[in-house]
Subunit: 333 residues, 2 copies
């Protein structure tokens, strides 16, 4: 990042006019933990917000090997070429900092898409906690929408808590599975299946169609065991072969049907509002911590309290209560 | 719970003298969310703390069907009868509120142990968030230790975040597995294997010994791939048949060796201090939320801010900053 950063207005104007370079630099600011970068990033976000929101946000998950990149390549090209849409692809993968195996780091796996003028692929940030990565991804969605992208794909790998984070920022959650592997083998927990608005069985290639059909029937049965969703949407199950580009339009048809279903009944907006509310609470949480733990006087008190708790002389509950009283009284002065 | 509650001193004296009835009532107070119960519970805990800490705290996890109850029955009877110890069995299972399938609810699965004068089995609390259940379990450990129990078993089911919570409150973490099922089939994530100080392959019964031995070799190999622990302890793998009461003394020998290893090098105390520190931060977190969200003036402001965030007029980051300023300025008055 250059030392001579453009002003917020320059960023905002550039993003709104579709300047990719400024969009990328803005996202880098959003991902930065430096205070001055964050301040500028927030100004940019505020400027983009009135132009954000007009998209379909799609979450995609599935274990490594299920073919997420190939699917995104095929699906992305279809929605751009045949549906006339524009596409931004983001990723939430907080584990990548350890394994250095960033999901989207290898853009060569999405060759056509990464060179398409109507697609924008943003590699996974290489570090950060899930909370931090999730917040920056949410903010990145807004600036991508302001830049005119009407379809946002957010990819995550099928492990840990990242699905929950992604689920809380998308309209439609798609779970990619393989046929014949059994859901236990795919490391997919019941909780993740419950989040899915649709399950797509990938790699339904020649010779594998029968297994894919059986899996489809099984997942349909499994999904019927879950309580119905609030909107009345019944999760669909379909097969595709992303590698052979088969079954891709049908996936989009499902997304389209979902959009019409949820928008007609007001559930689309309701869900977005609930998500915004959830993220407000997350932001408040971060802010509370920042203020409390950075209070210089409290820092000194904290040390002695922490030691007493560690020595078993004081319960953590009592210590927390006392520290809070110090914090509150100090503010009253 | 009776309306006429004994005073804190009566509870403390009773617990220290080993009164089971008062111990159970104190734990019920600890688990209660009522303010007056919590206040009394905290007094009791403060009184117990100077007498707490002298135990080995063992966490046990494994998927349903692995034989946790049978293992605890066999292991518990062994440590009481042959090692001359006393045992308290607790559980962390926040999902039980939904499924009503409390792990320890059915004491008949631990028939001998539940009737043993040197054992105390506390069924899972039937409701509460993971945070709340984890905190009350930690406090329950302290009162059980004050009541003289020198061995604390904390059981959890191998799903979700409850292992992490249990891992953060025990000295020794034991993972129960089955032979021949494959770790994917057992729903055990890599993260849980990394937490294990020992893996015990249960149901190494007649006819299944070979599979158990193969699994043992595989898990040993797998554990070698993980980075070494700070204390230099190399996680052990052993087999047992809890149902046939085979291999149980060997499990205790491992626990004993672990204790000597970590105590000799100071890692035992170090880990307990780190855990206490972690729980202080968790308590602070709960306290911050309680104070912030219950502030009556802030509640009113919150509504309008939340609406602006939901309408996309304000970023959650900016809203959180503004609300924090209101909170802090108000306190200064």
């Amino acid at each position: 990042m250059s030392r001579n950063l453009p002003a917020a207005k320059e960023f905002i104007d550039g993003i709104l006019s579709g300047d990719r370079m400024l969009l990328s630099r803005a996202i880098t600011l959003i991902e930065s933990t430096k205070r001055e970068h964050q301040d500028l990033a927030q100004e940019i976000i505020e400027g983009c917000l009135p132009h954000a929101g007009n998209s379909i946000r799609i979450g995609i998950t599935g274990v490594p090997g299920v073919g997420k990149s190939t699917f995104i390549e095929a699906f992305g090209n279809y929605v751009i070429e045949d549906e006339g849409r524009s596409l931004a692809v983001l990723a939430v993968d907080p584990s990548s900092s350890k394994t250095r195996g960033s999901i989207l780091g290898d853009k060569t796996r999405m060759e056509t898409l990464s060179n398409h003028p109507k697609a924008y692929i943003r590699p996974t940030p290489t570090s950060g906690s899930l909370g931090g990565v999730a917040q920056s991804t949410r903010e990145t969605i807004s600036v991508c929408e302001a830049a005119g992208f009407d379809t946002i794909l957010i990819e995550t790998v099928g492990v840990g808590q990242s699905e929950t984070a992604v689920h809380s920022m998308v309209d439609f959650f798609l779970l990619l599975m393989l046929a014949g592997a059994g859901d236990e083998l795919q490391g997919i927990k019941r909780g993740i299946m419950e989040m899915a608005d649709t399950i797509i069985i990938n790699k339904a290639d020649t010779g594998n169609e029968e297994a894919a059909k059986r899996a489809m029937a099984e997942y349909k049965n499994a999904l019927h065991l879950f309580p119905p969703t609030e909107s009345g949407w019944i999760p669909k199950v379909a097969t595709c072969s992303a590698f052979h580009n088969k079954g891709i339009p049908e996936v989009w048809d499902i997304v389209d049907e979902f959009m019409r279903h949820t928008k007609a009944k007001g559930f689309f907006d309701k869900k977005r509002k609930e998500q915004a509310s959830y993220w407000l609470d997350e932001s408040i949480n971060q802010e509370l911590h920042r203020v409390f733990y950075n209070d210089p006087d409290l820092k000194r008190e904290m040390e002695s309290y922490r030691e007493q708790v560690q020595q078993g002389q004081l319960s953590s509950y009592k210590a927390a209560r006392d520290l809070m009283q110090i914090f509150l009284n100090k503010k009253k002065k």
